[in-house]
């Protein structure tokens, strides 16, 4: 099929060892031979076989990425961040998605063995113990957004803090009836965000109202349904807090259909700050997560672990990325909706209280 190192060696009149040395600059080689080898390699369009190289080097130069899903801008942003960092380190990405249960994760992990130097795992709806069991031994692992009960390094988002801050912001704006559209049952991110929401309410002396709480699923459609539900209440909320931006998009869509002005009659806020959030109509007030940064940080941690080959640690490292509320028009707070027309709204500093 395609040329191997042996072909190059034969045509260049040297041994495979020398060819390898030339290609990897792993040992000094006489200039003339080097030139000859490179010449032949080019002629043959030689490219080293990745599998063979991996087997011999015991290193693949690839990171495994295991995701629950690929729907929406969140995951492409995350992947973008990971890819950016991996590429800087000369690593490629072996991606596997739609793993919602521990079995799926386990299978993915197995097929990745021997082909990746480490694993980046996001599994928000896999139970901790099951996830722990599915992870491989002897391979560096960094978890994204998931830690309690799992013995692996992880980089997480401050879901609690973000939701708490957002809720506090809404309370400060005078809202007392704050609707909440949650994610799927057992989704760890959603749970933490919900806790932040509840805590902030309690601290403000506002009772949690089950009528204002509906379950979604982190999709636009889920947000749409949630909004219809909440608006059908005898006493609808004055603002809807969607547990992620995708649902906030659905909420906005539902309100538009019902011809309910946003934020005048009902305000809307989200969580994540996906890239389109600022381009929505109205621009979405949300909790900035730094999605790409999350991915990049995870990749960086993993690459470090790979490079250092540290002994498996009892107390693995846990990074928590801060979140911040970015105020745009959808929450009704005073914000620069009347900035001079020459300043692109998406280039202005987001207002962060």
């Amino acid at each position: 099929m395609s040329a191997t190192i042996k072909d190059v060696a034969r045509l260049a009149g040297v041994s495979v060892a020398t060819v390898s040395r030339v290609l990897n600059a792993s040992a000094p080689v006489r200039d003339t031979t080097r030139a000859r080898v490179l010449d032949v390699a080019r002629q043959l369009r030689f490219a080293p076989n990745g599998a063979a190289r991996t087997l011999s080097r015991r290193r693949s130069g690839a990171l495994g990425v295991i995701l629950p899903d690929l729907h929406g801008e969140f995951f492409s942003e995350l992947l973008r961040g990971i890819d950016q960092e991996a590429q800087r380190a000369g690593h490629s990405l072996l991606v596997s998605s739609s793993h919602h249960d521990s079995h799926g994760v386990s299978v993915a992990v197995r097929t990745m063995r021997g082909r990746v130097d480490g694993l980046l795992v996001m599994a928000p709806d896999v139970e901790a113990a099951a996830l722990d069991a599915a992870l491989p031994d002897g391979l560096p692992v960094v978890l994204l957004n998931r830690a309690p009960g799992v013995t692996a390094a992880s980089v997480m988002v401050d879901n609690f803090g973000g939701a708490h801050a957002m809720t506090t912001h809404l309370l400060a704006l005078g809202h007392r009836r704050i609707g909440f559209v949650a994610g799927a049952v057992d989704n760890a991110d959603s749970e933490e965000r919900e806790l932040g929401y509840r805590a902030a309410l309690q601290e403000a002396g506002v009772a949690f109202d089950a009528e204002l709480y509906v379950r979604g699923d982190f999709t636009e459609e889920g947000g749409w349904r949630g909004a219809r539900e909440l608006l059908a209440r005898p006493e609808p909320p004055s603002v809807i807090f969607a547990a992620n931006d995708a649902m906030a998009v659905g909420v906005l869509s539902a309100l538009r259909e019902m011809e309910i002005p946003v934020p005048a009659d009902v305000a809307v806020v989200g969580f994540d700050d996906i890239p389109i959030a600022r381009f929505l109509n109205p621009p979405l007030t949300t909790v900035r997560v730094g999605i790409a940064a999350l991915g990049a940080r995870g990749a960086a941690l993993l690459l470090r672990d790979i490079a250092e080959r540290p002994p498996p640690h009892r107390n693995p490292r846990r990074d928590i990325l801060p979140t911040v509320v970015v105020v745009r028009a959808s929450c009704g707070a005073a914000c620069p909706s009347s900035v001079p027309a020459v300043v692109p709204s998406f280039l202005t500093e987001d207002k962060i209280p």
Copy 2:
């Protein structure tokens, strides 16, 4: 480190060949030995080394995916479609993005050799000849959205037809001043869409007006700038046709800032039908591409080529996926904005003239 097939063989008291036979069901093995082997394998948490298996089988069970970028919902949708199809066939994905020039593609292709069974390449802004040279020989390749001048199978979108149909639709609505926000120079998709737009204008006897043509870059920001530019004209357009949905999002955002009602004063349409398009405010009239289907089709073709190991063909297969105009509110055409509230707008059949 982690257990190898030898370890399993030793502990089970059999040869590695037998272990291999058990694990791959490649030859009959006595039940008792099989049980013993499986038991030991489980105890050792054995998982075959991917690199070794690939080297020996001369098959990796992985598809290489080369993308120009990962920004926005388009690529996540594409990847989702590819992943879906690949997973059905038990293949994983080696993804490499941000390859805008032929050199980048060439490097990505080289690092993938020996680790993938075939290549899925999307490179809309790489010149055809350069792309052709960068592609590997002896490895099945399917191009996404790019064909002329490149000797490889490809699955494309009917960019011309879609843009033509959309422009015709706008003309039928009475629009005569149709602004166009193009993609980056040399972007193949953008070029084809522009040709469709121009052709439809010409057929309708409407002269192309350079004042109504601005260049963008397929990003939201590009669309935003394009809209500002077009609206600053002495005679602004009555509708803006963004060459992709991401730019249409930016256009909508700009118009909202300028407090120009859509579609009343200026209508907006896009291209791609990314998932959020129907949730925008107003819902976006656009050209449906079937992004995930495009990816899935590409993967399916590639998998077929891999399975059949066909001799490199002179006239490689070229699929062209049809496009269709989906009419929502943003173009101002009569459309079901007043459907019964119980019917989720995003579940109604999109109106397709």
